[in-house]
Symmetry: C2
């Protein structure tokens, strides 16, 4: 009865799919670019995710192909589909996670709330947008950005002159006056079933997720409902399969605006490994295999996840586990490097302040 899942990309998201795959008795195989990546234990092939040959060879004999990242080119995705491979999420959906301009257009057509935005192809275009939006705005490359890369806050078109070299239009968005950032995650099966996790708060530092609180504090019934409706609409209308993260701004005037989409397990869902009855990684595997989804109730009133950035080459486990034996430690097998996400820690419990303290205390042991 062994079902097999092929994951393209060998990073920490692929790595974190390994435990539930092993538990469920699935055959998990990973296509990595090089030896020694985070998901090394499950790597069955080294190759280039941009090469249709490499990817088609990897896909032979697996029941479904899914992803550690969203960078597989559309032509490669189409080649897989044409060869009869189950690709989840499929290229039609993934397009909107790959191209932020297409995403904005599509969400606009669905009437979903977003920051004001524009597509700009020149410094003059961008200066015009700035002139009508308070003189400052966020500029993003439509493709290839992540964790703050490919994103700049500018007050003059000249500040992204280098990005116009590529001929591709850029996305410009108003600077939203937001109170906090939220994330609504769900998983959706090809057959249509959707399961949502609680709305969470995501705290960013330097454009990178630093902490997540689940559920988001003071998330009233109305806020929760709107977030769930937005994410459900996106998943169903875009035909998303697997995990979906909808990053949201909660504005100071109490609106929710869609910031970014990710069609894969996401940093804002790492808490679910320890804090939810079904983790995002198990759920993603179930969803892409079109298996019934698991319950997403929390295991404790509060879960707090803190990323470990940078890291240390030393073994800090003796001190950390002595101080915080009940925190859950997750490391990705990466060499420490300033700013690099090398792991995360999750604490769960009954009192939010206490849980935040414990998660931060545990994570702090691993940073220099």
């Amino acid at each position: 009865m062994t079902l097999s899942v092929g994951v393209i990309g060998g990073g920490q998201l692929a790595r974190m799919m390994v435990p539930p795959a092993v538990e469920l008795g699935l055959d998990i195989r990973v296509l990595a670019e090089s030896a020694g990546e985070s998901a090394g234990i499950a790597v069955t092939q080294l190759g280039d995710y941009r090469s249709a040959d490499d990817v088609l060879r990897f896909a032979q004999g697996v029941d479904v192909v899914t992803f550690d990242h969203e960078h597989v080119p559309q032509a490669v995705l189409r080649a897989l589909v044409d060869a009869g491979v189950a690709v989840r999420p499929g290229p039609d959906a993934l397009l909107f996670a790959q191209d932020k301009l297409r995403m904005r257009e599509r969400l606009g057509a669905l009437g979903l709330p977003m920051p004001e935005w524009g597509a700009v192809s020149s410094i003059a275009d961008l200066d015009l947008f700035l002139a009508t939006h308070g003189g400052r705005a966020v500029v993003k490359t439509a493709r290839g950005g992540y964790d703050g890369k490919g994103v700049r806050v500018v007050s003059s078109g000249a500040e992204v002159a280098d990005w116009f070299d590529d001929d591709d239009p850029l996305l410009v968005e108003e600077l939203v006056d937001f109170r906090r950032e939220l994330s609504q995650m769900l998983a959706r099966r090809p057959s249509g079933e959707i399961a949502l996790w609680p709305l969470v708060e995501s705290i960013q530092r330097g454009g990178v997720c630093a902490e997540v609180i689940a559920p988001a504090p003071s998330s009233t019934g109305r806020l929760r409902e709107v977030a769930a409706e937005i994410a459900t609409t996106i998943a169903a209308e875009l035909g998303v399969t697997g995990a979906l993260a909808v990053e949201l701004f909660e504005t100071t005037d109490e609106r929710l605006l869609v910031n970014e989409l990710a069609m894969r397990p996401h940093n804002s869902g790492h808490w679910s490994i320890d804090g939810s009855e079904t983790s995002q990684f198990e759920q993603h595997l179930r969803a892409v295999l079109d298996l019934p989804l698991g319950p997403t109730a929390t295991r404790a009133p509060w879960s707090v996840m803190v990323n470990v950035l940078g890291g240390t080459a030393e073994n800090r486990y003796p001190a950390a586990l002595a101080d915080q034996p009940g925190a859950k430690y997750h490391f990705y097998g990466k060499d420490p490097r300033p700013g690099r996400k090398v792991g995360h820690v999750t604490a769960v419990g009954y009192e939010l302040e206490d849980v935040v303290f414990r998660a931060r205390a545990a994570a702090a042991f691993f940073e220099d």
Copy 2:
């Protein structure tokens, strides 16, 4: 900061160490006898656990060696220790899990409660024991038995005539009039720290564990205390490191008698993956690395684990997950064969009857 753990043996216990090892960022390596064993994803070497050469080569560069089973010969264990390898549990402790006669002698010297027993070297010896113990008794080979193998209930010495061929004395034990079987699990670090899980009830069918209920129903304060004291004494006095299972009989006259010992993660602790704040597999890894142990509180009032024996070659996940989406499914990557343990299912919750029902219902989908 990567710590490495080498596991000798590629069965399901080694397999179930993989998820926590991956989560904790440990480098887990497995020495298996052949390709395609349960722990295949972590196998780094094929070899013979009875060969000191194979095992010494495997142990190079790992921080600690531990075990999927207790069958590594003492001479091989000693060779590892002599070569400076950290072996946990060590040979002096493991001896008492390998040899049931030595175990009985040692527990007797510690004054721990046991069934009446004897060492018998001939049919005549055995017949004498039978004559003084009600005419029926349990005979066990001192070494090599598991899951009901190497165990016979006899009423005449002639019934184990074949076992006397080996010249090794056999262990004979009185047939205990027991109410139920219990198991007390704990983990112990080399530095001495011990953490106990709740006492559990283990339901056997045909000499094989069928179900485990955690905690054991109606386990009063006194019962719990005695079980904990017995297991703690064994762990400390025998110098056990890593996980220890002490299988106990609760007699109809309310005594606890030690049945068997296992110095490794054990079937009676599988519930802890989903039902305890720290699973026996994570705790075993922490213990053998001499890291501070995690909390062993339950995540829910009741956890019930049901083994899947035999199994089916078909994919029953769609039906099982539709019916019991919240059960936790664990499969070991083994081909189905009558009576073979191919996986287990755990349910957790508030009402014991409901939890038992859900665990059994989920497991039943996978048996023919």
